[in-house]
Each structure stands twice: as C-alpha cells, then as structure tokens.
Symmetry: C2
Subunit: 533 residues, 2 copies
C-alpha cells in the first residue's frame, strides 16, 4: 500500500457515492464487474457500498470483497465499507468486508454545528465521544480504519481538529476531509487541509484524504488543492458521478497529476490507458450519460473543430493538444471485430477489455456478437461493452421478452404487441395502442407485468457511429413500492426492442425490490389479498 | 457598461467558442434566439461569431447585431465579433457588428513560441508589429476593441507583457488572457493574471479578461482564480460548451460568485433565475446534452438520493443544500399549461419565457401545443421549449415530412414508408427495409433526398417525465460536401416521427451547405451533370 511521499492513493467511491446518484441502482453483478475494472486499473481502495443501507448493499459489498478483494494477488485493492458511527453499522460493515485480503472500515460522523444540531441533535462533546467509540469498535475488527468528519468544510476548525485527533487516538489510520455540500473554493479547501495535516500528532503514519463534491463546479480543483496541501488520498468516482452534481472525477484528477507532473510532483498507480473503457462501462451500468464536453472522457474532449485549430494540429500536435487520446485508451486503430472473427478471437478480445465471463455468459455474448455482425459490418469495443452490459443486467430476470411487433407512424395511433415469458415460465401476449411506439410497447408490457409504476426518464443513444449502430436505452421508473428510482438498460440494433428490454429490465428490478420489501415487512407484497393477512 | 470595481462583466461566447463544439452548427435564427435569451439574462457582451469563417457566420452575426444588439434599450448588450489579426478579418468583423448599439471587435494573435513558430511561422517582433497594426485598424472603426494573445498561458511571461502593452498602446480597451489548451492550474493562472494586471500602464481604463478551457476539468476554478487576481471580465458559455472539453460554464461562475459572495466580494448583472431556461434552450439548439451530474444545471444537481441526505434535508434544508433550485429558475410550482389553456395564455407564457415569435410562428407553436395537449395531460416549460426549438429549426426547410408508416419488431425486418415534399413542392414516397425502424426510416428518406451522407451520432431523450413525454432527437451527419458535422433536431410524442424530423432537418442543412459551396466554387453543385460544365 502506498500513500506517503509523492504517491497518491486513489480511493474510488463509484460504487458507494456514485451509486447514490439519483436514479442509479447497481446490482451485485454490476458492482462486481465495475470493481474488477477498477482493480485492473490500479485503484488502491474500492469503497464498495454502505452495507447498513439495505440487504442488497450488504450482498453486493460481500461479493466485491470475495470476488475482487481476495483473488490472492499481491496487488489486490483494499475493499472498504461505509458505516455510520454506530455499533450496528460497524458490525455489519466488518461482516461483509472481512473476507477481503485488505479490508477497511470507513466510519463517519457529522462535524459541523449545523449537522450536529439539526440532523443528529447532539452536542460537540457527545460527537467526540461517539467518534472515539466508533473508531475503537472498528479497530477491534480491522487495522485499517478510516474516519470522516462529515460536512468538515463547514465545521468550526478548532473543533474539527479535536474530532480528528479523537479519531486518530482511537486508532484511525486515514482521516478523510469531505466538502460534503461542495461549498469551498480551492484556496479555502487547500488551507483547511494544511491545517488538518498540521494538527495531526507527529510520528504516526496517518494519511489525510480529500472528498470533494462538485456543486459549484470546482471538485477537481479542490481535490488538487488538497493534495498540494499534503493530502495523500483522493476520493473520486468514474465520470464524476455521485450525490447531486457528483464528486471529483477520477479521470480528471489522475490525468491532471500526470499531465502536470512537473508542477504537482505527485503520481498515482492508475493505468490511465484503461480510463476510456472504465468510463464507458460505468456509463452503461449506471445509465448516467457523459456529456460530449466532459473533460478527459467526453466524446469531444479530443476533437478539434475550428479550421484554425485543425490547421494548427496538422502543423504541430502540441498547438492545441496537451494529452494524447491514446493515453486514456482511445486508440485510433482500436481492434475491430467483424463477421469472420471466431469464438476464440472474440473470447480473447473480451478478456483483454477486462471482463471475466463464465462459459455460459461468454457463449451468450458470442451469439449476440454473431447476430450483430449480420447487421453491421464492424463491431467495435463500444459495441462489445454495450452488449456485455446488457447481458450482465439481464442475468436473473423474472420477465423476458419473447416477441415484439409494432405498427407506428403519422397520422394515427401506434400499436404494439408484446409476448413475454413470466416467472412461472408461462407466455403472455398483450396488444396496446399508444401516443407513440414506445408508449404502446410500454403499455403492452405493463398489462402483462402488472406492477404500478411511473416512467421518469427515457434516453437513447447510439453506441457507435453509422446508420447501423446499436441503440442503448436507459430508463428510470418510480413506484410507491420502491424508496428510489429504479433504472433499466437495454441495447439492440432496433431501438424499439432496446426500449422494450430496458423497461422490462427496470420492471424486473422493481419486482425484486417489492419482493424484498414484502419479505422484510412480512406484509406479503402487493399480490397478497389484504383480507388474508 | 460595468466592469471595474467589484462588478464582473460576463462575456458569453456560446455563439462563437460554444458553436465551435464538434458537431454543433447553429443557424442564424437559432443564434438570434439564443442571443435574445442571453440579453434578457443580463449578459454584458455577446460574442456572436467569427465572421471571416464563413458567409453563414457573417449573416448570423449581422442579424444578432441588428435584432438583439440595437433594440434601443439602454441595457442592450455589447455585440462582439472575433477576427484574426489581419485587415480582411477586421474589416469584415466591423462590417457585421457596426449596426449594434455597442459594437466590439475582438482580435487575436498567438503569443506562445510554439504557436508562433509552428502555426504562424513568424518571429516575436513580427507578432508585436501585427498586434499593434491589427488593434489600430480595429480602433479606426470602433472604440471598443478587445485583444487576446492566443495560448497566453503557455507564452513566455515577459514577451506576453510586451504584447499586451503593444495592444493597449494601439488602443485595446480589454485584454483577454486565454488558457487556450486548458493547461494551467488555478494557482498558476491566478499568478499569471496578477502579473498581467501589474504590467498594464497605470491610469488607463483597461479591463483584464479571462478565457479558460476545461481540458483538465478546472476551467471554472481557473476563471475564479483569475477574477480574484484582478480580472474583471469572464469569458464563459452556457453549459460550458466549446472546443474540445469546452469553456468555463456561465452558470458555475455566476452561481459561485453569488453563493460565495462573502468570499469573493464580486458580483455580476446576471438574472440567475433565467439560467435553467437558457441551459435547456442551448442544449436543444446545439444538440449537446447536459449530463445529470453537471454542476448547477444537471438534472441531479438539486436531487437528494440517500436516506441520510433526505432525512437531513427534511430537518434543515441547509444540511445538504447551499443553493435553492428556485435561484436558477427551477421552480417546484412551474406554470403548467393544459388542455384548456387558450391562445392568449399560451402567447403570454411563451413571451414570459423570453421568446419573441412572429405571428406565424406563434400560431404554428399554438397548433403544436394543442396537438400535444391531446396526447399528454400537462405541458411543461421544457415541452414548450422543445416545441419552439423544433419550429425555429424547421423554418425554411427544402424537404418536409408529410407521412410516415413503420412496421417493426422482433424477429424480422423493419419496414418504413416515408412521404416527403421536396423543394419543387412535389410529393415523393419511398419504402425501405432496415435493421431497425430508424434505419428503415432513414433509408427511405435517403432514397428521396438523394444526398450522400453518414450518420455519426443519434440521441433521444425524453423532454419531460411520464410515459407520454415528448422525445427530442438529435442527430449529426457528415458528408464529403461539408467541412464539419451537421446537426439536426426534432421533437414529437412519437420518437420515430421525431427521428424522421431530426434527420430531415440535418439533410436540409446539408442541402444548404452544398448549395452555398456550389455557388462559391462555381462548380454547379452535385446535381449538375459533369458533362455540361
């Protein structure tokens, strides 16, 4: 484990803070896939979830700890679980990360008076006691304990130092300073980190960490200012996703340290050439699109439009380019698969992208790949990623699409007929009209599945270029039965079929959430007649 | 005009640098609509384009100068045109902005040795001479002259100061320091601006400006650092669009200055409550989506997902929120139109959003609004904005969609039949099969229009929530006949019809570009048989 000197630990919280992005809900299988990509990329610490939040979170963190955090290699990343400063949270956090080769418990407690008074309704003294007690309890389980004073950037500085010292004395080895509401400027945040570094007891091996939110658009600058001021761990997410406007983006922090190495003198263990793949995968699984003008990973980040810029680039690449697209894995000559690529070439290529598929899924992926080569001449990495995302997401579905027929156009009503297989393996067919083809399809599917919900968001984008590109559809639905919006994802060369898959995918998740809720409350779920309870 | 003391001039370059975003191409009508919104919002200077780049750019800047820059009000914004440091560029820039009440010429020349040696192939002394000559020529036309030393942030500081002094001595009143390639850190950029402010001749009323690119993700932080160091103009774009990873975002700079007024002590004239509307309009017209985790204007920027955050928010809004959504115009109780809203209520609401539609377009918009109320219960601001964007973009189309029929589904081939009216007012019908419905539609349209092109990008998103939401489709096509990608846009409750509109919209623009090119080169265009030339 690095983290001192000039080496910066990259602590990725895509699976925890990133998954708290409104509308995002990752399955355990998806979390494992993303964690594999992060591990392969060289991330030092993976925060895999907040186990006390739900049974699904517990199961997912446990799988990440077992399947990604303990595969025997020396370079296996630390797997971290978040816990409030309570015994119950810390116990369950330990329970799910203990199988990791390098487990970490990350506990937190509010530090600002605003949070202490209004949210927790405790005094500063009580907060110090709870901090010490929580860290000590975590330390009984695990050497590697991280403590975060929540809303640190709005806390009174003297009290913040007291809290940090209490955590260190109780055994915390990493102190993370979050700008929870994204309020600070880079100058202020740098000064805060300098102060925290200064108040730590000397002679101990404590790493200061930064966790910056992007509400004012300066999360990356704040993170860099914190690192300059002495922090040696950066909490980041792929594509900068996270609560509200998100977190500092891994790709921006890593590529700035790399591009401006002479200025910062700091380095990370990240294999930057894996950034583009990680960005696309996280975008597929979370359904969070990346805008074209996103730094580093946006579709336009390396495109030069104006005549003056194009002319300059032809004369000297340095005129308008400070990074090469290849450095983040955007190769001009990316390996492209075609009609004649065999099973072996396909399997090798999928493995080189960082996927570890079992034989069944590999076979399913290969079948879809062959289908796709019948529809388009060249299949790119982005196509393969979208296909695999679709397969990973559809592994254990209660409802599956068998057939779909649509008649649409102007003027007149759109009509869709859908045939689905249900959890009882029986096929059901339903036809419906709608204001458009997607509306008709969704009404037909609704009639079969019968779970009340509301479509909140619907997005399609082409996975690659060309008229024969696959369409990737993301939807979000909400329901009185689910505490948050539920996402669904589908890809197909036909956007109507992709739309159907995405909606069915979301409904399958909703069915699971309802079942889990029914089990937990003993209420029997929506299908149990109330009179029988 | 403000700009000294603690007041920051907002110089919006959405129509110039923003329009240089790869794939974006705004028509004159769209530029005028966006300029109106910027003016109403309180932008001090609108950079309307780069007139020397093309005849279309000249026409657009001229219309913005006449229709937005000279409507007689005292608060009319300055209209600025960009020009290289050549007589021809400066002459044409003046020619198109002269009708504005407050015209500005913005001329630029490379300042870094890399650009001087490799792009321009001139010496530093020649650069100084050209700077002075260009500014002097602009000054003959116009009091308000801005000079930018291009790639200033990588120039040798001593030479940069010489160049700035040469420009000021020749009459420049604003000196803009661009971080052209987005290379600098906030600390470095702040120090650079401090140095520039220090080397300006005293006693003159010179405004220093900053123009930051987002390649490393720190454009907003660099802009703020520049303002703290003494710059009094910020060059920004709506949604941060622009070359590559874009520019500093207007909304981030403005809302940071506002939210952190006690820290910066700086203010702008921007009416922040118009930010959300401006953001959506620019996104519609440019086809550049805004990612959900974009600061200030992203769909998630004010959404709170985790249980802990929601609980905190219920107890005290300040726990997790530093800005109110209303402050940028995201009202909870936004005025919603319905089935029973009449022509007058509709017209008033459209005007309150900042649109100035002539009677024909207002009537067309009202007809579409009534159609939409037949399909969905409530029509929101976002619906109205999408509808108007669609109308503005389809004003002078050569080809128009009359009818569309689609049969699609799995398994089997998709079939589309399209009927279009062409420039000769004759109707043509064509049917085609495809790998999916959009593919089939686009092939049928291609057969009618007959202009070779390649579909580069295809995106759909729902304009609002609910299963009956309108779909907004953006496409980009490329062609050997056009120097850049051409965008198209369409909305409809039926995404297949919206897809057809978007593609036809892009083809109409391509037809225009081809015609303009044919006229310019005298080559007669693609339809002239080669043998007859």
């Amino acid at each position: 484990m690095t983290g001192k000197g000039n080496e910066i630990r990259i602590f990725d919280t895509t699976l925890r803070d990133g998954e708290q992005s409104p509308g995002v809900s990752l399955s355990a299988a998806e979390k494992v896939e993303i964690a594999r990509i992060l591990a392969r990329m060289g991330v030092d610490v993976i925060e895999a979830g907040f186990p006390a939040a739900s049974r699904a979170d517990r199961a997912a963190v446990e799988r990440v700890a077992r399947e990604v955090g303990s595969d025997g290699g020396r370079d296996v990343p630390t797997i971290c679980a978040l816990a409030r400063a309570t015994d119950a949270d810390i116990d369950v956090a330990w329970d799910v990360v203990r199988e990791a080769e390098h487990p970490r418990i990350h506990t937190f407690l509010a530090a600002s008076d605003l949070h202490l008074e209004h949210k927790l309704r405790i005094t500063r003294d009580e907060a110090l006691e709870r901090t010490a007690a929580a860290v000590a309890r975590a330390k009984r389980y695990c050497d590697d304990v991280q403590f975060s004073p929540e809303d640190a950037s709005r806390a009174e500085a003297g009290f913040l130092c007291q809290m940090v010292i209490a955590a260190v004395e109780a055994g915390a080895t990493t102190i993370n300073i979050p700008d929870t509401v994204g309020y600070r400027t880079p100058e202020e945040f740098g000064a805060l980190i300098e102060r925290i570094v200064g108040c730590l007891p000397s002679g101990q091996d404590i790493v200061v960490s930064v966790h910056c939110h992007n509400d004012l658009g300066v999360a990356t600058a704040n993170t860099l200012a914190g690192l300059r001021a002495g922090a040696r761990q950066a909490e980041v997410t792929i594509n900068g996703i996270g609560e509200r406007a998100g977190n500092a983006a891994l790709e921006e922090v890593v590529m700035t340290l790399r591009t401006r190495h002479a200025y910062y003198g700091l380095s990370t263990r990240i294999d930057a050439a894996r950034i583009a793949h990680a960005s696309r995968t996280v975008s597929h699984y979370t359904g969070m699109p990346v805008q074209p003008n996103k730094a580093i990973v946006g579709a336009n980040a390396f495109a030069h439009e104006s005549g003056i810029h194009q002319d300059g680039m032809l004369k000297h690449q340095g005129t308008y380019e400070i990074m090469r697209p290849e450095s983040i894995g955007l190769a001009d000559s990316s390996f492209v698969l075609g009609k004649h690529s065999g099973r072996h070439a396909f399997a090798e290529h999928v493995a080189s992208l960082g996927y570890e598929l079992d034989a069944d899924r590999l076979e399913a992926a290969f079948r879809r790949f062959k289908e796709l080569t019948g529809k388009k001449r060249e299949v790119s990495d982005a196509d393969v990623e979208a296909m695999i995302a679709d397969l990973v997401q559809r592994s254990d579905d209660a409802y599956r699409l068998v057939d779909l027929q649509v008649v649409a156009g102007s003027p007149g009503l759109s009509t869709a007929t859908a045939r689905l297989v249900g959890p009882d393996e029986a096929e059901r067919v339903y036809a419906s009209v709608g204001t458009g083809p997607v509306d008709a399809i969704y009404r037909a599917i609704d009639s079969i599945v019968g779970v009340p919900n509301r479509l909140e968001e619907f997005r399609i984008h082409a996975v690659t270029e060309g008229i024969d590109a696959q369409g990737a559809v993301s939807v979000r639905i909400s329901s009185a039965d689910a505490p948050m919006r539920i996402g669904g994802y589908g890809t197909d060369a036909d956007i109507l079929i992709a739309s159907a898959h995405a909606y069915i995918n979301a409904l399958n998740r909703l069915v699971e959430v309802r079942a889990a809720r029914a089990e937990r409350t003993g209420a029997g779920g929506g299908s149990t007649p109330a009179g029988k309870r």
